[in-house]
Amino acid sequence: MKNKKVFRILIAILCLILIGWGIILYQIMDVKSKADFYGNVYEREAPEFTLTDHNGSRVSLSDYDDKVVLIFFGYANCPDICPMTMSAVNNVMDELGDKSKEVQVLFVSVDPERDTEEKLKSYMNYFNDSFVGLTGTPEEIDRVADDYNVFYEKEYVDSASEYLIGHNSSILLITPDGEIFLRYPQNRMDPASIAADIERVL
């Protein structure tokens, strides 16, 4: 009788130890697997937005909830960083081959005054006709940039170009369940490595 009780307690302790081990192991493995991603793990809910696409239709982030979304901010008159980012993303799509159909690239203009729908359309189509350029009223762009912690501001450098726009140039990866999962700053734009991350997320 007494032995049975001791036995039960021992079993209970053993179970607790096993569960504890399980939790610890799970956390170690989870951390390890996240560290394996090429992008910086970000893990933040992706704020919903509605903007105007380059065909003049109103679109929301939730319209793409069956895809992995790569979103970044820029402007058509940006001569150096934006085209570099665009071609990097285009190379990611090439790397993905058929799987690129499950990826949507969104380019949000931080220059709504100059980036008309037509201008964005030719800009996007030049790189890849599946890319979607988004614009809106300056207030709408402000709100989205703010929601996404994207800083941008006009710079009036002493230059023949009217103004340039300093802006955050990272690419954000949003999972189909609406989480900004990974972030790619300018020094992390190797197309093959980004494609490998996407294949793991899909």
Binding site: A76, I81, M84, N91, Y123, E155, S161, G166, Q186, A192
Partner: protein
């Protein structure tokens, strides 16, 4: 006129990949093909000063754009890309300066026509000591940069 035509022909026929004027050598120049309707582009090159004295790149012009300037892209620790204009580019003696994507670049502002389908543009660089240098800058498409490596 004949002489001009001749030198133009020579220029086109023997357009080299590097150009030298005085102590200054410019090589590996290229300009980015940009989407139709884009009014700006960027060009890149390596400029070497083989001399023993500092020289300066003081002015640029091109047949392809209204204005040509040197700019510097800086991405700070928060990922914010900002640009700065460099009015006079110092070329230290015996050193090479590489203008490359994501860093220092030649900015073509107010493109006169689309660069799509154009093989090259002409650019004039004015150096304080070495004088003027006329170079041909090939147009490169960035749609697929050739950086894709399959595995």
């Amino acid at each position: 006129m004949k002489k001009v035509m001749f030198s133009l022909l020579m220029f086109l026929a023997f357009a080299p990949f590097s150009y030298a004027e005085g102590d200054i050598v410019v090589r590996d120049a290229w300009v980015r093909e940009v989407p139709p309707g884009a009014s700006v582009s960027a060009a890149y090159m390596t400029i070497e000063n083989k001399g023993s004295q500092v020289d300066k790149l003081t002015a640029l012009s091109s047949d392809a754009a209204e204005n040509v300037e040197i700019h510097m892209s800086n991405v700070d620790e928060n990922g914010i890309a900002k640009m700065e204009r460099i009015k006079t580019l110092e070329l230290p003696a015996g050193e090479s300066l590489e203008l490359k994507p994501g860093g220092m670049h030649v900015m073509l502002i107010g493109l006169k026509e689309s660069l799509i389908g154009i093989e090259s543009v002409t650019m004039n660089l004015s150096f304080e000591k070495a004088g003027d240098m006329l170079i041909k800058v090939p147009v490169k498409s960035m749609k697929s940069s050739g950086e894709v490596h399959h595995h």
